[in-house]
Amino acid sequence: MARDLNIDCKVRFRNGPEIAPQAVFSGAPGRTTALFGPSGSGKTTILRLAAGLTLPVSGNIRCGETIWSDDRTFCPVQKRRIGFVFQDYALFPHISVLGNILYHLDNKDTALRDAAFALIDKLGLQGLEHRRPAALSGGQRQRVALARAVIRRPHWLFLDEPMAALDQTTRLTVRTELREFLQREKIPTLIVTHEFNELAELADDIALIADGRVIQHGPTREVLRQPSSLTAARLLQFENIFSSEDKSPLPVAKKSTGIAFRAEFVHIEKPETPTLAGRIFIPVRITRIRSEGPLVRLTGEAGNTLIEAAITSQNHAAWMQPGHRACLSIDQRDVASIPLRG
């Protein structure tokens, strides 16, 4: 691909862990890759390395055939032709919305002004052109920051936790809009997030980040279904993870380090339920019940291990109480077998 982003570099901060990402992010038009990982794992640093805002101590970064950074050369952020949307958007407080969008561009250029107004229309910012950023809502600020980054037709767009500054209700609508916008604009995008819920909707690809490294990278559906390591399974919030050393309630294949499955895929039935082909049944005693929004999370004890199941509150029958016996079942295809390393 012409503009694949090839990163293999290192940086270290005082008293911090070493950040050493190694990955090739797809530069296909409109393709979005999420850098997903816990806070402090180095996601933002990787994004800043890619953008040229943080200097690597060694290694190289290439965009297609263009060298952005290696031992001898460093292409500064000004010359990379990228768009960067900061977590708090970093709009210039003393400049109007239109001024922010056209910053450092020739604002007498009619083609550019037309492009700016087209973006303002597309993003629903009509009537706000002459306002200062302080007079905008969080969602509007995000859209101004996007317009400002996109009007330059950047080769890559980098978004640092674009939802973090928004409240929960705004987030849901903005997420869908953002996705549609990115696909329409056809700019490859790298987006940092620590919200598991955002992944499936926002990203075509996921790069899992732990301790400054990319530990798994692939298409979203594949990564969500098949974690490559126990750490990856934990990051992807698999509730049930059993390494081969644990006393797993389920059979663990010989050539794997363990298994993982999601609580939503676990069904809960009465103890005397007949077995079905393709499903694994595990008799348990219910130990704990927690309500979490529309979900009810049950913990079942089988031998010495605990298994988590999640059902909707509608399916929460009266007999499912702590102390009662039940039968958990899961489709074999929903159990991810985690391969041995290397």
């Binding site: 952020v77 990228i82 970093a90 910053y103 450092h104 950023p133």
Partner: protein, 225 residues
């Protein structure tokens, strides 16, 4: 008899000093605010020295530095045929050095208060260092820039020790307001000393009050930065 000549001279000196400090101090403060070089703290300490040194000590060194025995003094003499000490230009050089922290420290505070993300955002939009300095740095730091100009102006108005050491007491050339007041008191002319002091007091107070009002008014229009 109020010494209007020395008042005019002092105003001229303060204005020239402020303008020079704006030109020299802005890049210096911008560099100090941005650099990651560890030695920068030493530069900062040198800039702040006039705050703690007695004016006589500072004046003494400036006199040596500008005098006809120093390379700088000889160079100046060679170029212009005149000497710097006991001249208005010499007084300007001394004032600039003496008021340096009063300009650079507020400038620096103004630049440091800018969210570094805004500068990075500017760079990411293709803007270079100069463009970013003029379009983001200066407008966002301007309360600090105003404070620096005003403080260096007001501080120069009232300086005494350095002016006496470097400028001497030549009427119309280097006699500043504070020296004139000292002369009046020495001559037991308390009425003149009182009037001149009052003019200096009221002027300084007015300048500071107007500055602080402006700062409050403008700073409050950029919330949430």
């Amino acid at each position: 008899m109020i010494d209007w000549e020395s008042i005019a001279l002092t105003a001229r000196l303060a204005a020239v000093t402020s303008v020079i400090l704006l030109v020299l101090g802005l890049p210096l403060a911008w560099w100090l605010a941005r650099t990651r070089w560890r030695g920068a703290v030493l530069v900062e300490a040198v800039v702040a020295l006039p705050l703690v040194l007695p004016p006589t000590v500072l004046g003494f060194y400036v006199l040596l530095m500008l005098g006809s025995n120093s390379p700088l003094g000889q160079f100046y003499e060679g170029v212009t045929g005149t000497l710097l000490p006991f001249s208005f230009r010499g007084l300007v050089v001394a004032s600039v050095i003496f008021s340096l922290p009063f300009a650079v420290q507020p400038f620096l505070a103004g630049f440091r208060a800018i969210d570094p993300r805004l500068l990075e955002a500017s760079y990411s939009l293709g803007s270079g260092r100069f463009h970013t300095f003029f379009w983001i740095g200066l407008p966002l730091a301007w309360p600090g820039l105003l404070a620096g100009c005003v403080l260096s102006f007001a501080h120069t108005l009232g300086e005494f020790g350095v002016a006496l050491m470097v400028g001497g007491n030549i009427a119309g050339v280097t006699r500043t307001v504070s020296i004139s007041i000292y002369d009046s008191v020495q001559a037991m002319d308390y009425a003149t000393a009182g009037w001149t002091s009052a003019i200096l007091l009221v002027t300084s107070f007015t300048i500071l009050a107007v500055t602080f009002t402006l700062q409050r008014k403008f700073v409050s229009t950029w919330p949430g930065t």
